[in-house]
C-alpha cells in the first residue's frame, strides 16, 4: 500500500478536524481511497477534494480547543449545581442576594461619587502642573485672594513659573444685558492665558486673539443660547453690569459648558483689562483683589517655588507682615482645602474617606451573611462533599465550585444593584444636593466588574476553604459536628455585624441631635423671616428711597442694608487698634458695614450704650462692638473709647451680646459694626411671619419699580445659613441610609441563622417538649446562640461609637453632650429589631407539635 501521497491531505485534515471524529473520518477516507485505486480513478486528487469538502462547521474543531472545552464543562457543571442549590435553599439564597444587592448598591454608588469627587478639576490638561497662589493666616483658614501686582512680580522673577493667570476674587453675580433684556449670570474676569491654562475648549473664536479686544467677553454655550439663541455669536455686543459698574463688551468667543466636575462654575469670562481699569487704585496699592493661577514648568517642584516666593518677599518687602504666600496644586485644593502652615490638614477628603469606610463596612456585613449561612449549612452539604471527594474531586475543584457559587450570586446581585442604582441615581443626587458626573468609561466598567468579583471571592473564600477541608471518611461515616473554633468564628462575624450596626445607629442619633441643636440653638439674633436681595443697579439715594417705601408695606417690620454679603468678611487685626492694645497682637475680626436699623432688624441684644440712630447726627465715626471684642479690649466700660481701623478713628457707642453668624463649628469672633454711607450691596427686610405670601409680591413690585429690568432674586437668611452645614447634611443623609441598610442586612443574616438553627434543632426541641420543657426554656435553648454574640456586640459597639462620635462632635465649637440615653435607645432599637426578626421563627418552634418533628426515623 502506497501511503506517501496520503500524507498531505491527512495532515490538512488533522489541522482542522474535530479530534473526536478524526479516527472515523480518516478511516472512511482511506477506505474510499483504496476503493478508487482499484477502480483506476485519480484517487489522490479525489482525496484532496474529499478533505476540502469536509471543511464544514460541524466537523471543524471548536475554536477554543479540547482542553479549554473540558474546563468549560466543569464551569457549566458548577453553574448548574449552584442554580440547583439556590433553588433548594431559597430562603438563604434570598437573604444572601438581598444583602449583597444592598451592599453593592451602596458600594457602586459611592464608587461613582468618589470617582466624581476625585476627578474634580483633574480634567485640565497638565493638571498636575497647574497651581494656585494662596496665603495662610497662621490659622486653619486658607486665603485665596491675592494681589495681582505681586503675582506679576512673581511671574517675572521666578523661572519655574511658566505663566500666570489673574482672575477676579471670585465669580461675580452680575447681569448681562442684551437689548434691554437683563439676564442674571455668574462670571469672572481673567487675563489672557486663561483658556491656555484651563481646559475649557473653545467652540467659537480664535484662542490666540480672543482677549485682543479690551472689552472682550467669552460666553459659555449655555449663556450664548440664553442671550442670543445661538452659539455663533462672535462679534455681538452686550452690556455688563455689576452693581454700579457698567461696561459694554464684545463677544469674542464661546466655550463648551463647564463640566460638573469643575470646582469653578461660571457663565462667562470677561477680560481682566476691565477689572484693572475699574480697580486701578486698589491694585496699585497691592490689595488682594484677585485670584492667581499658574502653570509651573515641567518638573518644577512647588517647594522650590515656595522658597523663591519667600526669598522674593524678603528681598523686596522687608517690612511685610501680612500673611505669607505659597502655592498649592489647583486640583488638589478641592479635596484638601484646609492648610496649616502650608501643610494640608484636611477638607473634603475627610468626607470621602468616611464614605469609603462606610461603603466597605456595609459590603463586609453583606459578605458575612453569605459566609455565616454557607458555613452553618455546611452540615447539610457534608455528604455531598464526602461523595465528591470519594469520587476523586480535588480540594482545588471543590474550592472552585464554591467560589463559582458565590461569584454567581454576587453577579446576579450586581446586575440587580446596577438596575436599582440606575433607577435611584437621580434621587440620591437630590439627597446629596450635588450633581454627579457618572463616568461610564471602560475604567468604571472594569471597576464595577472587579467590585462584584471581589465581593464574590470575599464572601465565598471562607466557606470554600472551610467546606473543602472535610475529611471524606469522617463526614460519610457519621453525623457531623462543627468544631468549636468554627462556631467562634461565626459568632465573631455576628458580633462584627451587630457592633457595626450599633455604631451606625448611635451615629444617626447623635448627628440628628447635633443638627437639631444647630437649628434650634439661640443664635443671639433672629435669623428667620429675613429676606435678602442684592441692590444691583440702585444708587445709594435710590436705595434709601426704596427702604423708606418698603417700610410702608404693611408686612415689612424693618428694612436696612449692609455693604457686603451678610458677614463672613474678615479683617486682619494688624491695623485695628484700641487704647492699650499690645502692638504685637494680631486678631481676626468679623465686621459689618451696615445701614441704620440693621442691628434692630437682626434683633441682636444690646448690652451697653446704643445702636446707630439718625437722632444723633453724623454717626459715621461711631462703632458698635460685640461682647467678644469688649472682652478682647478688656476695659470695664468701653463706651466712648477710641477704636481705630486703619487710618480712621471711631468712637465706641454700644456693645452687643454675642451672636452666631458663623457656623457653630467656629467660636464667636470679635466683631464690630460701622455705619455705611447709604449705599449697600445687599438689602434685608424683616417680614411678619404670617404675611410673607402677601408681602413678597409687593416687595417685588417695588424692586422692579426702582430697579427696572432686573429680576428680583431673593433668599431667606436662614436658608443661606443652613448652607454652612452642607457637609453635615450629607453626613446625616449618608449615615441614616447606611445605618438602615446595615441593620437590615444584619437582621437578614440573623433571620437566616435562626431559621437554620430552629430547623436543625427541631428534633432536640421535640424531645425536650416531650420530656416536659416549658415554652420559656425552649426559647432560652434556641436563643442562647444569638443572645451572647449580640450582647458582646452591644458592649463593643457602645464603646467604639462613643469614641468615634465624640471625635465627630469635637469639630463643633458648640455641640451637644453625649448622654446615656443615646446609647440606651440605640441598644433598645437594635434589640427590638432583632427580637422582631427572630420571634416568628422561635414561636413556631415553641408551639410546634413535637410529633411532627419526631415522627419519622
Amino acid at each position: 500500500m502506497n501511503k506517501i501521497p496520503l500524507k498531505g491531505p491527512l495532515k490538512l485534515l488533522r489541522l482542522f478536524c474535530n479530534q473526536d471524529y478524526l479516527e472515523e473520518i480518516e478511516g472512511d477516507l482511506l477506505e474510499r481511497f483504496e476503493k478508487r485505486i482499484t477502480q483506476n480513478k485519480p484517487a489522490k486528487w479525489l482525496l484532496w477534494l474529499d478533505v476540502l469538502k469536509l471543511l464544514r462547521p460541524k466537523i471543524i474543531k471548536p475554536v477554543f480547543g479540547r482542553r479549554k472545552l473540558k474546563q468549560n464543562n466543569m464551569l457549566t457543571h458548577n453553574i448548574v449545581v449552584s442554580f440547583r442549590s439556590f433553588k433548594r435553599h431559597k430562603i438563604s439564597f434570598f437573604i444572601n442576594y438581598l444583602g449583597l444587592v444592598g451592599g453593592l448598591v451602596t458600594v457602586l454608588f459611592i464608587y461613582l461619587w468618589v470617582n466624581h469627587e476625585l476627578s474634580v478639576d483633574r480634567f485640565h490638561n497638565d493638571s498636575e502642573r497647574i497651581y494656585r497662589l494662596v496665603s495662610d493666616n497662621g490659622g486653619s483658614a486658607t486665603l485665596l485672594n491675592t494681589s495681582p501686582r505681586f503675582a506679576r512680580e512673581l511671574e517675572s522673577s521666578i523661572p519655574e513659573i511658566e505663566f500666570i493667570v489673574n482672575s477676579s476674587w471670585g465669580t461675580l453675580e452680575s447681569s448681562l444685558i442684551v437689548e434691554e433684556e437683563v439676564y442674571s449670570t455668574e462670571g469672572e474676569f481673567a487675563t489672557e492665558s486663561f483658556f491656555e491654562l484651563f481646559t475649557y475648549p473653545l467652540t467659537h473664536g480664535n484662542p490666540a486673539t480672543i482677549f485682543n479686544e479690551p472689552n472682550a467677553i467669552i460666553l459659555s454655550e449655555k449663556t450664548a443660547l440664553r442671550l442670543f439663541n445661538s452659539t455663533d455669536v462672535v462679534g455681538k455686543t452686550l452690556e455688563w453690569q455689576w452693581y454700579s459698574l457698567e461696561e459694554s463688551a464684545v463677544v469674542t468667543g464661546v466655550y463648551k459648558d463647564v463640566p460638573n466636575n469643575s470646582s469653578a462654575q461660571f457663565d462667562y469670562v470677561l477680560s481682566f483689562n476691565v477689572f484693572e481699569r475699574r480697580f486701578r487704585d486698589r491694585i496699585a496699592r497691592g490689595n488682594r483683589v484677585s485670584r492667581t493661577f499658574m502653570k509651573l514648568t515641567d518638573g518644577a517642584s512647588a517647594e522650590t517655588v515656595n522658597q523663591k516666593i519667600h526669598q522674593h518677599t524678603r528681598a523686596n518687602y522687608p517690612d511685610f507682615h501680612g500673611d505669607p504666600y505659597f502655592v498649592i496644586e489647583y486640583a488638589d485644593y478641592y479635596l484638601n482645602s484646609e492648610y496649616e502652615n502650608g501643610k494640608p490638614i484636611g477638607g473634603r477628603i475627610e468626607l470621602i474617606r468616611l464614605f469609603i469606610v462606610i461603603a466597605i463596612l456595609i459590603l463586609i456585613i453583606a459578605c458575612i451573611n453569605f459566609m455565616n449561612l454557607s458555613t452553618a449549612r455546611a452540615a447539610l452539604r457534608t455528604k455531598e462533599i464526602g461523595v465528591r471527594k470519594t469520587m476523586g474531586a480535588l480540594r482545588k475543584s471543590l474550592i472552585f465550585q464554591y467560589l463559582t457559587e458565590s461569584c454567581m450570586i454576587s453577579s446576579i446581585a450586581g446586575l440587580t444593584a446596577l438596575g436599582i442604582l440606575f433607577l435611584v441615581f437621580p434621587l440620591i443626587e437630590r439627597l446629596l444636593g450635588q450633581a454627579i458626573q457618572p463616568s461610564l468609561d471602560h475604567k468604571s466598567i472594569l471597576a464595577f466588574l472587579s467590585i462584584i468579583f471581589i465581593t464574590g471571592l470575599l464572601s465565598g473564600s471562607y466557606p470554600a476553604l472551610y467546606l473543602s477541608r472535610f475529611n471524606p471518611i469522617q463526614v460519610l461515616k457519621g453525623p457531623f459536628f462543627a468544631s468549636s473554633g468554627d462556631q467562634w468564628l461565626r459568632k465573631g462575624l455576628v458580633v462584627f455585624q451587630f457592633g457595626t450596626s450599633l455604631i451606625l445607629i448611635v451615629a444617626v442619633l447623635v448627628i440628628y441631635q447635633q443638627m437639631q441643636f444647630i437649628q434650634t440653638k439661640d443664635l443671639g439674633y433672629k435669623n428667620e423671616f429675613i429676606v435678602n436681595f442684592e441692590t444691583k443697579g440702585m444708587s445709594g439715594d435710590k436705595q434709601q428711597a426704596f427702604l423708606s417705601e418698603a417700610r410702608r408695606i404693611p408686612g415689612v417690620v424693618k428694612a436696612s442694608g449692609i455693604s457686603h454679603a451678610l458677614f463672613g468678611a474678615q479683617k486682619s487685626g494688624a491695623n485695628i487698634t484700641w487704647e492699650g492694645k499690645d502692638p504685637e497682637q494680631e486678631v481676626w475680626f468679623e465686621w459689618g458695614n451696615i445701614g441704620y436699623d440693621m442691628l434692630e432688624l437682626l434683633d441682636i441684644e444690646l448690652l451697653e450704650g446704643r445702636f446707630f440712630s439718625k437722632e444723633f447726627g453724623n454717626e459715621t465715626t461711631k462703632v458698635v462692638i460685640n461682647k467678644a471684642t469688649k472682652n478682647l479690649i478688656g476695659i470695664e466700660s468701653p463706651l466712648g473709647r477710641k477704636f481705630s481701623v486703619g487710618e480712621n478713628d471711631y468712637e465706641i457707642i454700644g456693645v452687643t451680646d454675642d451672636f452666631h453668624f458663623q457656623s457653630l463649628h467656629e467660636q464667636i469672633k470679635p466683631t464690630f459694626f460701622l455705619l455705611n454711607n447709604g449705599w449697600s450691596m445687599k438689602l434685608a427686610l424683616r417680614i411678619q411671619p404670617k404675611r410673607i405670601n402677601e408681602t413678597l409680591p409687593k416687595i417685588q413690585n417695588l424692586y422692579s419699580k426702582f430697579n427696572p429690568g432686573f429680576p428680583f432674586e431673593y433668599t431667606f437668611h436662614d436658608d443661606d445659613q443652613s448652607e454652612l452645614y452642607t457637609t453635615e447634611k450629607k453626613t446625616t443623609v449618608l449615615t441614616k441610609y447606611a445605618a438602615g441598610l446595615a441593620i437590615f442586612i444584619s437582621c437578614l443574616g440573623l433571620f437566616g441563622l435562626v431559621s437554620f438553627v430552629t430547623e436543625r434543632k427541631s428534633k432536640e426541641m421535640g424531645i425536650r417538649k416531650i420530656l416536659g420543657a416549658s415554652g420559656g426554656s425552649i426559647v432560652r435553648a434556641i436563643s442562647k446562640d444569638f443572645v451572647v454574640p449580640i450582647s458582646v456586640a452591644t458592649v463593643l459597639g457602645v464603646g467604639a461609637s462613643a469614641l468615634l462620635i465624640n471625635r465627630w462632635l469635637n469639630q463643633f465649637a458648640y455641640r451637644v453632650d453625649l448622654k446615656w440615653w443615646f446609647f440606651a435607645s440605640a441598644i433598645l432599637l437594635m434589640f427590638s429589631i432583632t427580637a422582631i426578626t427572630t420571634v416568628s421563627k422561635i414561636i413556631k418552634v415553641v408551639i410546634a407539635n413535637p410529633i411532627n418533628s419526631l415522627r419519622d426515623e
Binding site: 501511503k3 471524529y21 479516527e23 472515523e24 473520518i25 480518516e26 478511516g27 472512511d28 477516507l29 482511506l30 477506505e31 474510499r32 483504496e34 476503493k35 477534494l49 474529499d50 469538502k53 469536509l54 471543511l55 464544514r56 460541524k58 466537523i59
Partner: protein, 111 residues
Amino acid sequence: MGKYHLGEFEEIVMLTVGILEGKAYGFAIIEEIENRLNRPVSIGALQTVLKRLEQKGYLDSKFGEATAIRGGRRRRYYHLTSAGIAILEETKEQRMSLWNALPNLRLNKTL
C-alpha cells in the same frame, strides 16, 4: 417551535442506516447510497448529517473493530434509535397520506 422534520438527505441516510442493519459505517453508507440511488455523496456531507442526527437522538453509534484496510483505524457503526424509527414511520405516513390524497395519478403517466 414545531416538531423536527427530516430533510430529504437526512431521510435517505437514516433509511440506508436501517438497510445496512448494524453494518452501517461511514464509507458503507456512502457506497450503499451511491449504488442504490446513483448519486454521489461526499464524506463531508455525510458526516455532517450523521453528527446532526446523532445529536437529535435519532441515531446512535459505537466503535467497531480495527481494520487493516483503514490503516488500523476503527469503524464507527451507526444504528437507528427508537426515536429514529418513530420519526421515519411518521415521515412515511405523512408522505403516504399526501400520496393518497392525490386525485388522479394517471395524469402523470399521460404527460
